[in-house]
């Protein structure tokens, strides 16, 4: 049903088509990296080369092919997007739904933690923690997720509160259904649209945060990251290389984020009928 609706919606939604097209393009690139790009770590003495038929975007300060590194960078960004998206949604769903269903002291405690997290500037906290523990990419995923579930949890709690007194859920209770059955069979399907939209927006945010952290120098040096490429290239701003070293990763990053944003808008319209014809 959801996919039928999505198909119908996409037919008349150019932004949606654009978003989904971009996302699919990035996924294909990430999959085909080994075949369409050179070894991104291969050094050479040909440093700071301008674009040529061998090196489409030239080479950097240690003679690596910039085009290949941009392509391989898609993998990192998508991995971050997927990892943080899934983990954050899992955190916020578990915490938000249980808070609404269990209630009592548990709910009060959870809600105060959420309020506290919402008040803290999480990016600053991320920078401080990362500076200490120097995370690799998987650690980074966990770190970003554990600081960004609070907004989703709040929304999911309020939605669960609205859903849980619906008649068909009361009816399920009168067949003797336990909490797990009610969550899995009734509440999660009701929350499905919100989960998907929140997943897309979290993924977008995660890509941006990772690039931002790398740009200020906080990233695993062995990871190929667009943010890190920009961080390095910015050191050579007095050379003309920034044109083909600094701009392409920035452009790729913007494109991915724009793709996610349009996809998110489109999905929101599918799931929220009131927005459908807007």
């Amino acid at each position: 049903m959801i996919f039928e609706d999505l198909g119908k919606q996409l037919k008349k939604d150019t932004f949606g088509q654009f978003g989904i097209g971009l996302t699919i393009l990035f996924v294909i690139v990430a999959t085909l990296c080994p075949f369409i790009a050179q070894d991104p770590d291969a050094h050479s003495i040909l440093t700071f080369q301008p674009p040529s038929s061998n090196h489409w975007l030239g080479t950097n300060d240690v003679g690596q092919d910039v085009w290949s590194r941009v392509l391989w960078g898609v993998r990192t960004s998508l991995l971050i997007a997927l990892g943080v998206g899934l983990l954050t949604t899992a955190f916020s769903t578990t915490i938000g739904v249980t808070a609404a269903l269990v209630g009592g002291a548990y709910e009060i405690v959870v809600m105060r933690i959420i309020d506290a997290l919402l008040a803290i500037p999480t990016v600053v906290v991320l920078i401080v923690i990362s500076a200490f523990i120097k995370p690799d990419i998987f650690m980074l995923i966990v770190l970003i997720s554990s600081l960004h579930w609070q907004g989703g949890a709040r929304i999911l709690r309020s939605q669960t509160l609205a859903v849980k007194n619906q008649l068909h859920i009361l009816a399920a209770k009168t067949f003797g259904a336990g909490r797990l059955h009610i969550i899995v069979r009734h509440i999660l399907p009701e929350l499905g649209p919100i989960l998907i939209v929140s997943f897309i927006y979290t993924a977008r945010m995660a890509v941006f945060i990772e690039a931002g952290l790398a740009f200020v120098g906080i990233s695993d040096p062995s990871t190929i990251s667009w943010g890190r490429m920009m961080y390095h290239s910015a050191k050579f701003y007095y050379l003309p290389v920034w044109k083909w070293w600094l701009l392409p990763p920035g452009f790729a990053l913007s494109l991915l984020i724009v793709g996610f944003t349009f996809l998110g808008y489109s999905l929101e319209r599918v799931f929220e009928p009131r927005l459908k014809d807007a």
């Binding site: 008649l167 068909h168 009816a171 399920a172 003797g176 009734h186 399907p189």
Partner: protein, 565 residues
Amino acid sequence: MLRVSNLSVTYGTRRILNGIDLQIQRGEVLSIVGESGTGKTTLGLSLMGLLKEQAEDVETNGEVYLQERDITKCNEEELRKIRWNRIAMVFQNVENALNPVYTVLDQVKEPLMENKSWDKEEATLKSLDLLQKVDFPSHRLNAYPHELSAGEKQKALIAMAFVCDPDLVILDEPTASLDVASRQSILERLRLLCRDRAVLLITHNLAVAGGFSHKTAVLYGGYIVEFAPTKDLLSQPRHPYARGLLRSYVGMDRAKDLQGIKGRVQFVEKGCPFHPRCTQAIALCEDESPKLVSLGERSVACHRGGIVPLLEVKALTFSVGPLRLIDSISQIVFEGETLAIVGASGAGKTTLAKTIMGLLNSTEGEVLLEGDKVERRDKDFFSRVQMIYQDPREALSHRLKVLECVREPLDIQSVGTNKQVRYERVKAVLEEVELPTEDEFLQRYPHQLSGGEVQRVAIARALVLNPKLLIADEPTSALDASVQAKIVKLLNNIQEKRGLAILFITHDIALARKMSDRIAIMHAGRIIEEGPTGWMLSSCSHPQTRELLKAATTIERLRDSSDES
């Protein structure tokens, strides 16, 4: 006067009567009621000693004392003296009971001249007197039986039975061939004739039994299943069969739609004779026939002690702060019975339903299910009590298909070993609520169904666990009138078939009238008046009830008021 003890009659291998015990005093009328084939007429014939003439292989056991004499021990000669003189019978089959070559008058006076050796003149006078008493038309006295109407023949037969002044009269369906008006007049006359005699009235007509007899025995499969003063039996039967009979009876004082008894009369080898048709039968009922047990003035033969009280709420209260939304309500719902809770919006009806279901926690009082106190609402409780809701579209998840909706309770309760078993049960219950069972229908979503279909799916879902009690909260108020009619019929039919007890919640007393056996009026959280439906409609006294009745829809009244304007 008459005492029958442990009377049994067997035709060949088939037992027609089993251990019948009866006593009739002089001046008392005892009626035997039951459907055709339950052994009523056999009982009458056996008291007359006429069974031998019916069949060769008949065997009678037990004792029948007429005053101090056991007539089962009498030989044919002695019996002939007793018949007509001391015991007379009005036969059911009016067509064959009269001798075609005698006129009416000759026929009536024959027993007087034969048995009592009266002379012709005396006999004629006495016969004329009796024929007049039964309102036989005087110009037809010399007619032959084939010239008489069925009613006239019946009157002649009654006159014949009483002409020798017997002590015991057996009336076998005395009014069956009469129209309603003459039935009433003949019953009046019979009542006078029967004074100071012992009378056994055999009838399937409860109205005749009710208007004529002091005590009533309900006969089924050759057993007396309930014996009680007629008034008590007709107002509150305790045996499921007696209730079934009463529900099948058409009368002006009946409000609820007619319901029959499931199945048909069948011969049972062992166990309670009624168990194949009984909706509350347990394993014991199949093995052992129950004894007639005395409960005060009444006796009932049932292993479960008569109709079981299924749900009992005692002083149930639900309050929010100082506000008592339900104020110490005590009610009993019996097996197979519909209790309607009627009241205006905000009277607390739905709160009561939710409190019973455990969706709200009662502040005081208790709920008993089949005699056991309900401590917590677990799967076992919900497999016996189910609820249907006012708005079926809200009550079904719009993300589940019909099959998944109806199967959900089975999945939750882990009924059956695999999906196939559950699938079969879903199909069976859909058939029961008269919905299609094709896969195409099973794969539809609720929003693809009509209002009536959705409510049927909701009912099917509530019935799939075989509950004993169904709480129906305004189940038809969101539906069109024609669909409402069908749902009401459906619920009544399912009740007849399954013995389902229904707690029917409605604001519409006219609807409650069609659905319920009893009505309880709710106002401001309290039950202000309750009683059998027919009685409530005619004799209720509480002003609030009168108000509800006045507001109930009547097409006639609407027309009157539009005329005035």
